[in-house]
Symmetry: C7
Subunit: 94 residues, 7 copies
């Protein structure tokens, strides 16, 4: 099963947050801030979205930083994904 | 009786959520999160919507993921449907 | 007396909600959810509305589903009508 | 003294609400719902309003239904008027 | 000193509200509703405002009715003025 | 050090409010209303801003009235400035 | 590792706020107001953003003033950055 994003949407997968701090203390979930970094899994076709031409500038495999309050969390086959609009991706990490 | 969506609207039908967890416990309704996955039942004609050209990219039978907070729930002949705008559909599941 | 809607507006008339459930219990008004289904009574001319061309796609006699939170309720000659914009009509019921 | 509305504005005058119910009880002001029906007194020239061409479709003397929450109440020579944008007029009553 | 409004702005001066009611009772300030009527003192040049062409239709000396909640109050040389956009002027009083 | 505003922004400097009333009473800071009058210090280049052509109509040295709730306060070399968009400037004082 | 901003975004790095006041008192974090001044680290390509052409006017190394409430804070390799849209940059400090 795979997700094929529509329009200007991008499917992201967040890497699992580290369960331990550097000093080895196991963190409870409330103190674990969600990482804003994720890997691009699939990219929509772009095109005319809401009457405006959108060109897709990210590709599968890119590591990206995305806006903290953006996106829809989706669960598929026990894997969690985040679907964002490309405009919610702030930067590529190289 | 059938629903013929107008403009860029799409009629969805959610599959019934599983009544039991894997371990066999019957869930009460509050712990059952609504699935965001649904089947496309009918697709509007698209065209100029709010002054912008919209091309319809989903078709009846597609399994789709849609935005959690979108759509109007509608009951017809004791069946429940959700009518969303195509822009609230995030991805097709294949 | 009749209502002639302006621009992209549509005059709807809701059918009276059934006063009894299938098992024959008479419902009090709070448990009677307003039906979202209504009949089209009159249709505006469409044309340029808020700077955008609108073509009217519904006609008097159509049974339609409209958005729960849309429309203005209007009383004329003791009859109640709802006036909505065509964009608040989600689907035609056939 | 008279009001000459600017742009897409329309001056309306509400007819006095009936002071008695059919059974002859005199209503206090709180139980008197304002009528949404009014007579068109004066019509602005239309033209380009907020960058969009507006054609005026109502004329003085028309009885109209207008949106309950729209308009500015204005008092001139002890007469009360309501000034609305034409887009807040829902329908003409014939 | 004088105010030269920019773009589609208009400088208004409200006439002093009458201090007495018809029966001669002197009103305290809280019961004196601000008049919505004012005289046009100065008119901006219009032109392209927020990407849209605005033609000015009022001129100094016009008595106008303006929207109750619009405008910025400004004090200059102990005189109070209100600066509104022309679109907040509802009608000219003749 | 100096501030070079971008796009349609204007750097303003407010004159110090008078510390005394006419009758000579020294005011505490809460009763001192901020003056809305300021001097233009620097003017951005204008051009296409948010897709719309903006022509700059104020110049350094102009005394202007600006909207009470607009602008960003900025401190540079112990001097306080306000940076506003030109559209928040209501009028020039001459 | 480096951040490559997309579209009209700009990566900023704030200089560390001074830990002491002029008189030598060490400030606690609540009394330390975040400086609005930052250095430009990386600049997106601009181009068509949300249907509007954006030309980038800042370059790496520029010291800029940005809007207090704008931007996304991002942590990468233990360094903190702020990613803003160029339109949230108010002025260049020279």
């Amino acid at each position: 099963m795979k997700l094929i994003p529509l329009a200007d949407r991008v499917v992201l997968k967040q890497s699992t947050p580290e369960e331990k701090t550097k000093s080895g203390i196991i963190l409870t979930s409330t103190s674990q801030e969600k990482p804003q970094q994720a890997e691009v899994i699939a990219v929509g076709p772009g095109g005319v979205v809401d009457g405006k031409e959108v060109v897709m500038n990210v590709k599968p495999g890119d590591m990206v930083i995305f806006s903290k309050y953006a996106g829809n969390e989706v669960k598929l086959d026990d894997e969690e994904y985040i679907i964002v609009k490309q405009s919610d991706i702030l930067a590529i990490v190289e």
